[in-house]
């Protein structure tokens, strides 16, 4: 850098990087003139909607923390809505999803799920057999997860104003005294654990829509995450820093959200991330990275390094989590970013999702 002519250029680069970082650190403002599909995809646009419109309008410190669930007095509450198409898919259905989705938001907040409410929006003309099947699926999933359905609501809209059936569930859980989970707890050196193979739910849905003329026996992974959350709380106690269920936007979105919220970096070793060969094959053909594909029964846990082995062993002992793996760790630099050590040996940034994960054309 002894070349004097270089100096202004370096100064300018530094200044521009500073401008970008200031812009990125600012709370996003919601300025879009209308809602597009990308606002529902779980990536940048969704984040802008939440941080730029909902949080400032509703206020409150609990909401500011933007966890999967929030404290309400001595209890923990969460809510979720379900518009999946098709209603039934290999490995599950909208009813089962509606129970497990809300149960899992409670579980990863470190709360034992106790009770749910179920709201239904039904389209005029919906076949009663279809409704009956989903009501049974809800009852079965609730029984399996050990939660009681304590209230509900039903609305019917004119034909064409909803696609068969939409569900919304609200859940209440009791905070488990063994853990104190919060994104601020993450420390450099913490290990990132994943409860099993990724991308199955999203892939199963994409294939079930029949748009790709592609067939593979991939089933949704929808299941209650309370058993594995319970095992982690038991094995790691206060060493369990934080958990997230990797739904919409996949594992990549969860890691990015936490890296930003906690001002830490994360490194993921791609070779350690379990992916079913059928999911990997479908993702390859569709040009999608399984790290961004939705799961409905996988959690990411951050555990103090000295407890990571015990926590991993406890996870693997849980039914359905045999493939659990340590996939990376928390670091300090560069803050807010998730880096991947690729299976091929290079490094890259694993960014937030922009819009839907659409297949590439070339």
């Amino acid at each position: 850098m002894s070349d004097v002519g270089q100096k202004p250029a370096v100064g300018r680069e530094e200044r521009i990087l500073g401008i970008i970082e200031t812009a990125r650190a600012k709370r996003p403002r919601f300025k879009d003139p209308a809602i597009t599909m990308s606002h529902g995809a779980g990536g940048k646009a969704t984040q802008t909607l939440i941080e730029g419109l909902f949080v400032p309008a509703y206020g409150g410190t609990t909401l500011e923390a933007m966890g999967d669930a929030g404290a309400a007095g001595d209890m923990v509450m969460t809510t979720d809505s379900f518009v999946v198409k098709p209603l039934r898919f290999p490995g599950g259905s909208i009813g089962e999803l509606a129970v497990n989705g809300t149960v899992n938001d409670l579980a990863v907040a470190g709360a034992r799920p106790l009770a749910l409410t179920v709201a239904m929006i039904l389209e005029e003309g919906l076949d009663s057999g279809v409704l009956r099947a989903e009501v049974e699926a809800i009852a079965l999933a609730a029984a399996a997860a050990g939660v009681e359905i304590v209230a509900g609501d039903t609305k019917v809209v004119e034909r064409g104003h909803a696609d068969q059936m939409y569900l919304a569930t609200t859940g209440v859980g009791r905070p488990d005294p063994r853990g104190r989970l919060a994104p601020q707890n993450l420390r450099p050196g913490d290990k990132v654990l994943l409860s099993g193979s990724i991308g199955e739910h999203g892939t199963a849905i994409m294939l079930a829509r029949g748009e790709f003329e592609l067939e593979a026996a991939v089933e949704s992974d929808t299941r209650s995450l309370w058993p594995v959350a319970d095992a982690l709380l038991e094995a790691a106690g206060p060493g369990l820093r934080c958990m997230r269920d990797a739904t919409r936007g996949g594992v990549a979105s969860v890691l990015n959200e936490l890296a930003r919220a906690s001002h830490v970096a994360m490194v993921v070793r791609e070779a350690n991330v379990p992916v079913d060969p059928l999911v990997a094959g479908a993702a390859e053909i569709l040009g999608i990275d399984p790290m961004y594909v939705a799961n409905e029964g996988k959690l990411v846990a951050f555990v103090a390094p000295e407890l990571a082995d015990a926590a991993l062993a406890a996870m693997r002992a849980v039914d359905g989590c045999e493939a659990a793996a340590e996939i990376g760790e928390v670091r300090t630099e560069p803050p807010g970013m998730v880096l991947v050590e690729t299976s091929f040996g290079g490094r890259r940034v694993m960014d937030q999702l922009v819009g839907d994960p659409l297949p590439r054309i070339c």
């Binding site: 680069e13 599909m37 690729t342 091929f344 890259r348 940034v349 590439r360 054309i361």
Partner: protein
């Protein structure tokens, strides 16, 4: 995955990385352009630039077909999508590309019937199943995707389908390369040649690059070992003072190209006199239009398309970034008027474009250079 994993072997990658390090002169800086967006994607996905010595720099080329579509063309597409009775179909990547005031995704949210398809044949299928509507397919892409549009049109014609047309925005790879090479301030030392385009056109169309401009070209496959090997082949040519077209992707690319595909292209398309590229301006004979024989399937003849030209802001310097003359942050609008959320030029539109990558990972990218 058999026949795929073999080309992703980390150990072989490390060996190639060592060979590359041995092939460069320590005091010299090398700038190599990968022409095709598919290569850019592979480089990003596998972290290939991380395996190169610091004095070998990869410059992302103009070969991302969605990113080079200019704003005016997107506006024309949106105008078609708003025509009563029209179902507007396009590839998913196209939905987010910004026009002058909105994207197709915004137009869809505003009520236009915009549908994502995975192949032009899907668009034709919609036309068959909805005979009361008119289906427009927004055809984009290089010589790689043009044959599938050609075959779809041949089928539509054979079946006598009347409610289907194509808004043809296919482009060709050689003219923009020529435009880059003509530039006196070009600072590129070699090219990773576009393997998919070459599958159709063969290796011959790239021979002018070494012959007229003295730069090596290696037509490359898309797996990480392919790309590393191609970079090594380019560096070896440079080292020995050579410049020729080599074909690393022999398992797929025949020297003469694919004759059947070329015949279909010749039947269905003609060259446009000129076409505007986002960030690069007008380039003559760089795009395709439908031939007279297929005029009835030409959306631009069946509908009144505004055809308004929306000028790229003068300050946009994508051309200079692509030529390797300036760094992204040296562009006058970088990070201020031009950001990933409101992209002006092609380098910012594509998430893997040089500017978007620098915007998103700037400090990280620079740390790597320092290491």
């Amino acid at each position: 995955m058999k026949y795929v994993d073999e080309y992703r072997d980390a150990e072989l990658g490390r060996a190639l990385s060592t060979e590359i390090a041995a092939a460069v002169e320590p005091g010299r800086h090398y700038k190599i352009m990968e022409v095709c967006g598919g290569h850019t994607h592979a480089i990003y996905k596998y972290g290939i630039d991380d395996l190169l010595p610091p004095n070998v720099e990869l410059v992302h080329g103009p070969g991302c077909p969605v990113c080079v579509i200019p704003m005016g063309r997107v506006d024309d597409g949106i105008a078609l999508a708003r025509e009563p009775g029209v179902i507007f179909t396009c590839f998913g990547d196209m939905l987010r590309i910004p026009g002058s005031s909105e994207s197709l995704q915004d137009a869809k949210a505003g009520g236009a019937d915009v549908r994502m398809v995975y192949s032009p044949l899907d668009a034709l299928r919609i036309a068959r199943s909805e005979p009361d509507r008119h289906v427009v397919f927004f055809a984009i892409g290089f010589e790689t995707t043009a044959p599938s549009t050609a075959l779809t049109l041949k089928r539509a014609k054979a079946e006598g389908i009347e409610n289907f047309s194509v808004m043809c925005s296919h482009v060709t790879i050689v003219p923009p390369l020529k435009a880059l090479l003509e530039s006196p301030d070009l600072r590129l030392d070699g090219f990773v040649g576009p393997g998919h385009v070459a599958t159709i056109v063969g290796a011959r169309p790239f021979e002018f690059i070494p012959a007229d401009y003295g730069k090596p070209v290696v037509i490359s496959g898309f797996e990480p070992l392919d790309v590393l090997q191609s970079i090594l082949m380019i560096l070896r040519q440079i080292g020995s003072g050579d410049a020729r077209v080599e074909n690393q992707y022999k398992r797929v690319v025949p020297h003469e190209g694919n004759q059947r595909a070329l015949e279909a292209l010749a039947e269905v398309f003609v060259l446009r006199p000129h076409f505007e590229w986002r960030g690069l301006g007008f380039i003559s004979q760089s795009a395709l239009a439908l031939s007279e024989a297929y005029a009835e399937f030409d959306s631009e003849r069946r509908f009144v398309v505004p055809g308004v030209r929306v000028a790229d802001p003068k300050a946009c310097q994508c051309g200079e970034v692509l030529k390797g003359v300036i760094k992204p942050w040296e562009c006058k609008v970088f990070g201020t008027a031009c950001t990933p959320e409101h992209a002006i030029g092609t380098c910012m539109v594509s998430p893997e474009g040089a500017c978007a990558a620098y915007y998103n990972y700037g400090r990280f990218a620079r740390e790597k250079q320092v290491v």
